[in-house]
Symmetry: C2
Subunit: 338 residues, 2 copies
């Protein structure tokens, strides 16, 4: 058993913790998108899902995604040795209030929309090291809770700028285990927080692209790999404009990214679904990973991906106080086991 680090920021998981089960839940709009068939469950048209509030519906999404994923892994939620995750709401209340329903020891995380990758990275490191036999990694977001917390009351009907992204109503959970899982996680690159001076809270893709660039470059340097070593380089929710910004930054270094896949660009039909720059939110990368991507890794369509979720670490308070937007990107390598 050898464990450790390669390069500056990349952890190596030699015991290859693997995916025992995964599940996703999305809203109607996401179901109507190009990846709609792959999700396990869709909310009814009324996105309160029978609850008193959108926040309670979002919490229910988190809890149900974990329960479904545990079930697919052949585990009761009480068998889970840890639950790691968070969400976009103040004090990560979706995760925090779902946790007692799950009953597993809980590590609350906040990485904004990078949380799915952050939870996989920490869980893989703990499972790989032998501390835990399994761990659930989960996150979620909800259009209606995010809009009213971060932007405007929905009733106001505020017009959205062209670079704005649409917060995905979605939840995803991956159950990692010490043995028997497929695909497996082999590396994790912990991102640095990068502030490129972007102050427009409506253009989060642009704010997050420099963090994605930094983590990607570090990952390649740390591992000695290049984009061709991956079937897909997946980003969380850079959207149309952030994706372009990332490609422009890489181009300056002579790096092309032909095999790039942004969950925010792909979860919606950006031409016909009126989402402007694409999808965003913790639940975007989480629901796409825990449906389309892990399915393709299991059926052999994909062999190895770099899953990198980006998070903009702003708050409405920092925006009002005139601050720019620091962002972070964490990445994990997920590949089919031999």
């Amino acid at each position: 058993m050898s464990m450790g680090k390669t390069g500056q920021q990349t952890l190596v998981f030699e015991n290859k913790p693997g995916v025992l089960g995964f599940a996703s839940i999305v809203g109607q709009k996401e179901y109507e998108g190009p990846l709609g068939d792959g999700f396990d469950m869709t909310l009814p048209k009324d996105d309160t899902w029978g609850e008193d509030s959108w926040e309670k519906a979002e919490c229910k999404m988190f809890a149900e995604a974990v329960k479904m994923a545990a079930g697919k892994a052949g585990l009761k939620t009480t068998d889970l040795q840890a639950l790691m995750g968070g969400d976009l709401l103040n004090q990560i209340i979706s995760a925090g209030f779902a946790a007692p329903q799950i009953g597993a020891p809980f590590l609350g995380l906040y990485g904004a929309c990078s949380t799915m990758a952050e939870s996989l990275l920490i869980a893989a490191s703990m499972v790989n090291a032998g501390y835990l036999d399994n761990a659930a990694c989960a996150t979620c977001s909800h259009f209606s809770t995010a809009e009213r917390q971060y932007r405007n009351p929905l009733e106001m009907g505020a017009q959205r700028v062209p670079v704005a992204q649409w917060t995905v109503t979605g939840a995803g959970c991956t159950i990692l285990g010490a043995s028997g899982g497929n695909p497996v996680i082999t590396h994790g690159t912990i991102g640095k927080v990068i502030d490129y001076g972007i102050a427009d809270a409506n253009n989060m893709g642009a704010a997050m692209a420099p963090a994605a660039y930094d983590t990607l470059k570090t990952h390649f340097t740390d591992t000695g790999r290049n984009p061709g070593d991956y079937d897909l380089i997946v980003t969380g929710d850079l959207g149309l404009f952030g994706t372009q910004a990332l490609k422009d930054l890489l181009k300056e270094d002579g790096i092309e990214l032909p095999n790039h896949f942004d969950c925010g660009v792909n979860i919606f039909d950006t031409e016909n679904q009126d989402v402007h720059g694409g999808g965003s939110g913790c639940g975007c990368a989480a629901s796409v990973l825990n449906s389309y991507l892990l399915t393709k890794l299991q059926d052999g369509t994909l062999n190895r991906i770099l899953f990198m979720a980006t998070g903009a670490l702003l708050s409405p308070t920092t925006t009002l106080q005139g601050e720019t937007i620091p962002s972070v990107a964490h990445a994990v390598v997920i590949e089919r086991s031999n």
Copy 2:
């Protein structure tokens, strides 16, 4: 090198990651308390600390505590292989905005007032397993930012109920390293989220006591230890009323806790400083650990403590929506190395 878990929720750190450096910063009121002499730095009477806002002052406290602790460890902040932490503000902006100033890879955590213990637990597990040579664990809180975010505008002068606790203006950082540190961290118990049905957001000690009880009982069962194995059983910020609740719960099981020390009770003179139930906030346990407690462990006054910080995972939104208060407690064993 043997790593793993004992019992249900307790990780064992056999390579004994140790404390390379630690630092604390507090406000005037905390400096005037019984532990005032032990803190490294005190804010001026104006708690904006020369910044435009209290939030920016809180962020500066976080950054300065990390810089000071790294300096004491003989490290530049750029030598830090990871920064793990969070705070009470929405989207953990104190930590997120301090991170680019530090420049280390960043894992954002949210465990409310349990964050200091959560960060030590995750960092110790990663350092112990060989992924990282060192890691900075930090958290903070600020009376003026917490009051206006969680309660009322300060200008309103709202009267406080007798069980209310006073949010500590404080920050603390511990630098853990793979070798050469003293004291060392030998175990970590990951807490479950417990909701005992307490709905009074002004009585967080009562809401958190059942989580502390659950983690403490689990820790004793997992390790085969009892209170007598520790010089101190430290809780974060149960305050006067939460401490009594914890003792009452343990008494039903026939467990006495004579060597108990609550940071919230001890940071202020609860009789003369008009703080009602005592101190609270992430910065309470963080500043007391990274001054008084670690100093006593280094000078030999204390040999082994259980450091358990508790967090109430509520938000103003959940309180307004009539929810009860789920809470969590994480614990780490810190002892003098031989």
